[in-house]
């Protein structure tokens, strides 16, 4: 009886994937040396190779995303980030689909995928999405897979520093 019940339920769903997300407003303002918002300390190394000289924090969020389900993060009125974990290997690497959506240019049209990418990400290693215009600068998003996906204390926290 127990076997029948277990078989009917199927395997338990994998735990959600937890990623850190830092949205940055990057501009060229002639700052020398480069200017970094103190709140960007954790992602500064990922920004150093970019062509901008001034970096300000827009928002940070810890994204908890279930497998094959899109999690939505509103970054600005123009950009929304969607994260969908596709698979996870025993070593902790996660295959994830990430896209940044923009509202349609004309009313009645579909939203536009400004950037769509599928990555295999390693815990603790950062990746950067960028190049999209934002308020006389560009949007840069720094993300990383967190090592501990079971820590409930980090789920769903959202902080904004930049107003549009």
């Amino acid at each position: 009886m127990l076997v029948v019940v277990t078989a009917a339920k199927g395997p338990p769903p994998p735990p959600p994937i937890v990623l850190s997300m830092v949205a940055v407003h990057a501009t060229k303002e002639g700052s020398s040396p480069k200017s970094y918002d103190p709140a960007l300390k954790e992602v500064r190394a990922a920004l150093e190779d970019l062509k901008f000289d001034t970096y300000r924090l827009i928002c940070t969020q810890t994204v908890s995303a279930r497998h094959n389900e899109e999690s939505k993060v509103a970054i600005s009125p123009d950009y929304t980030l969607y994260v969908k974990p596709l698979s996870k290997d025993p070593g902790g690497k996660v295959r994830v689909s990430v896209r940044i959506e923009m509202p349609p240019k004309k009313e009645g049209e579909k939203p536009v995928n400004a950037l769509s990418t599928t990555l295999v990400i390693v815990p603790g290693k950062q990746f950067v999405l960028g190049g999209l215009e934002l308020d006389k600068g560009e949007l840069v998003i720094v993300m990383a897979l967190k090592d501990d996906p079971h820590n409930p204390s980090v789920h769903g926290s959202l902080r904004f520093r930049f107003s549009f």
Partner: protein, 155 residues
């Protein structure tokens, strides 16, 4: 004890030595036998020899291998030497199995955990008109996916 000509060292003729007679090696035992019955010194010496013989007999049992038994005895030794030792084989098998297990566990660990390298980009695209997307890994292990906008494509 007084020396007698029949006792060891005192005898003029080794053939009549009392110890040879005691060991049954005398060619003419009768004179010695009569002498021992009359001579207190030889009688006492004979008693000592008998005591020693009884003591030695009591100490251990001496196995003898006769000539007829020797081939079977040697065959047994050869079989013992040439017989494969079962436990030696078992321990060799256990050692090899343990080594194989360690290697397998190491390989499994490397495969499952793998070297923690960098993120990999499988695909990237954009729906923005005239824009392209490129990806690259920088020296500090950061993977970047970048949208290169067309000059007039402003959101």
């Amino acid at each position: 004890m007084a020396k007698c000509r029949y006792t060891k060292g005192g005898g003029r003729d080794p053939a009549v030595d009392i110890e040879r007679w005691f060991d049954g090696e005398s060619a003419d035992p009768e004179p010695i036998k009569r002498h021992v019955a009359e001579c207190a010194s030889c009688s006492a010496h004979l008693a000592q020899l008998e005591t020693v013989r009884k003591g030695v007999s009591a100490l251990s049992r001496h196995e003898e291998i006769r000539d007829a038994q020797l081939p079977a005895f040697m065959t047994g030794i050869r079989e013992g030497v040439e017989r494969p030792v079962r436990w030696r084989g078992v321990w060799a098998f256990v050692s090899i199995a343990a080594a194989a297990l360690i290697v397998a566990a190491s390989v499994l660990f490397i495969i499952t955990n793998g070297p923690r390298t960098v993120n990999a980009v499988e695909s990237c695209s954009t729906e923005l008109e005239g824009a392209t997307v490129s990806s690259y890994a920088s020296g500090n292990g950061v993977t970047t996916v970048w949208v290169n906008l067309a000059p007039d494509d402003i959101p």
